[in-house]
């Protein structure tokens, strides 16, 4: 039954995708050329005006361009012409670094907040104020103090991914079942060993859920951050291709952002499954 459901779902997915491509193709069909003009003027106006070619690229244009990118993902022809792989690599590296820093800060701090009601109450107002700030609002301050656009982008990733991890860790640690703590207490397990052998495994699913939310947010934010800081990265690529009026490349970049985001999420989902225990 499950297999047949999966097959049926796959058929529907493929049908929807085919329908989407079909409509896209039809909607971007060239219209008949309407005006005649002098050859010099026609050259200036481009194919859109002379042959009625749609300004929006069709699926075939995008497919051809995508194939071109996939064949040569890592070429580097100077600052404004790098392969898609290189641009994505820069973005993933920034997200990875900022995210790693956030993990290093958020998980121990979350443990502290979860285990100590005093720290929890004392830090609560700061967290409540800092959490709703858009990560991009930090950008000018980061640029001014750090004076390096690339590190500023990493900082922005750090600041946006730290909150879900911090709050989930604190919640997971505070919500560990009293009876498990009592087991550790009756066995005279010390605080450090208790943290690693009881609280960490018990809170791990909640912590990993926070980390999964964080990686999603970090990937959302990196595109916007790179549009601002420029230079490299997939966000910069999108903005650069917009300035080049290459809608085809913009569409390809959007597709790639989606795919990488999905992969990052799936990696974290796998880790979450690894630490989840049935009760």
């Amino acid at each position: 039954m499950t297999a047949s459901l999966r097959i049926r779902a796959a058929v529907v997915s493929i049908a929807l995708f085919a329908a989407f491509l079909g409509i896209w193709h039809l909607a971007t069909r060239p219209t008949a050329a309407t005006t005649t003009m002098s050859p010099e003027y026609a050259k200036l106006m481009g194919l859109t005006a002379t042959q009625g070619k749609s300004a929006m690229p069709g699926p075939l244009d995008v497919g051809a361009k995508l194939w071109e990118h996939l064949r040569q993902p890592f070429y580097d022809n100077g600052p404004n012409d790098k392969g898609l792989g290189i641009q994505l690599g820069y973005s993933i590296a920034r997200v990875g670094l900022g995210y790693l820093l956030a993990v290093i800060v958020a998980i121990p701090l979350g443990f502290l907040i979860g285990m100590s009601p005093l720290i929890s109450k004392a830090l609560d107002p700061f967290i409540q104020v800092l959490k709703p700030i858009s990560p991009l609002a930090w950008m000018p301050l980061a640029l001014y103090t750090i004076k390096d656009s690339s590190i500023s982008a990493i900082f922005v990733i750090f600041i946006c991914s730290v909150w879900p991890m911090l709050l989930n860790t604190a919640f997971g640690v505070a919500a560990v079942r009293k009876e498990w703590i009592n087991v550790a207490r009756t066995l005279e397990v010390g605080t450090v060993r208790r943290a690693f052998t009881v609280i960490l495994p018990a809170a791990a699913p909640t912590i990993l859920t926070g980390m999964r939310i964080s990686i999603g947010i970090a990937w959302l934010v990196i595109v916007a951050a790179e549009m601002l800081v420029g230079g490299t990265g997939i966000g910069y690529f999108v903005w650069n291709e917009w300035n080049n009026l290459s809608i085809t490349n913009v569409i390809i970049a959007i597709l790639m952002i989606g795919i990488v985001g999905m992969l990052l999420d799936q990696i974290l989902a796998r880790f979450t499954r690894m630490v989840t225990f049935p009760e």
Partner: protein, 308 residues
């Protein structure tokens, strides 16, 4: 004083409430047990049974008084006092062996892996779980989980085993089997045990001394029933013993009526010298013996059945 292995001396537990006052769950509670004895506390919910056990375990602190175990006042939890929790409290991310080994490594920190495993295995075998070592708690039935809980508690070779209604979540059949196991293990090893239960038959089967507590708040230890049944009693013919109903009726009477009215009717109760009752023996306080009592109370039972 030497025969008091466990001595609870005048403990009280109060919870402050919003009005600045407080609720006294119990106060001036005195209780003692000898080494190797099996004690059961019976009382209604809210009389502070669990609090007494948690204080004994070191998980809770008395508002007043002290608890002395083996000549030393207790301070916090200890590996000398193992707890079997009502909800088994196994760590679900560890296997059966892992759960028991966790306790073993907590007690003997410098033991190597092989030694820990062998020791844990011994207690897994003792509770009859051989072959299930590598299962996770989620793959076990309720009874098997509680067996792991017992193995974990025993594996640290505690001076006292503390049990908080350990079998109340199990079905009757499993409960019976586990009672047999616990009784066998306690008799074989001379284990001192302190148990809380709601089940009168469980108390009569397992305990040497049954502590009856009145209703809370302001609960007191009303009396101590010494179990007159022989040490080699079996679960199957327990109810045929001539003294069985004397003990059982005495306890049930207490739970049904006297636990409510005790504070109002008994004015000269001395919490330091709680009366010891031996149902069915010459110094018995209750008036009727088992045989007479059942016939007198249930005349219907004596009539021949007409329905068949």
């Amino acid at each position: 004083m030497t025969d008091k292995f466990i001595s609870i001396e005048g403990i009280a537990r109060r919870y402050p409430d919003a009005g600045g006052g407080g609720t006294t769950i119990f106060e001036n509670l005195w209780l003692s047990m000898k080494r190797g004895e099996f004690g059961c506390v019976i009382g209604h919910s809210g009389c502070g049974k669990t609090t007494v056990l948690n204080i004994l375990a070191g998980l809770d602190e008395p508002s007043e008084g002290a608890v002395i175990v083996d000549g030393q006042a207790i301070e916090g939890t200890s590996l000398d006092r193992a707890v079997i929790f009502q909800s088994h409290a196994l760590l679900p991310w560890r296997t059966v062996l892992g759960n028991v080994a966790y306790a073993v490594t907590s007690k003997w920190r410098n033991w190597d892996r092989v030694k820990v495993k062998a020791h844990a295995q011994k207690f897994i075998d003792l509770v009859g779980l051989t072959g299930s070592e590598h299962k996770r708690p989620s793959e076990l039935s309720g009874g098997m989980k509680q067996r792991v809980g017992i193995a974990r508690a025993l594996s640290i070779t505690p001076k006292i085993m503390l049990m908080d209604e350990p079998f109340s979540a199990l079905d009757a059949l499993t409960r019976g089997t586990l009672q047999d196991e616990v009784r066998r293990i306690c008799l074989e090893t001379g284990q001192t045990a302190f148990m809380i239960t709601h089940d009168v038959d469980e108390a009569i089967y397992l305990a040497d001394k049954i502590f009856l507590m009145t209703n809370g708040p302001g609960a007191v230890l009303a009396e101590i029933v010494e179990n007159p049944l022989p040490k080699d009693r079996g679960r199957i013919d327990l109810h045929r013993h001539p003294l069985y109903y004397a003990v059982r009726n005495h306890i049930v009477d207490f739970l049904v009526s006297r636990s409510k009215t005790f504070a109002a009717t008994v004015t000269d109760h001395d919490p330091r010298n709680v009366p010891v009752v031996r149902p069915g023996k010459p110094e018995l306080i209750v008036t009727s013996t088992g045989e007479d009592f059942t016939e007198a109370s249930w005349p219907g039972l004596a009539r021949p059945s007409t329905s068949s």
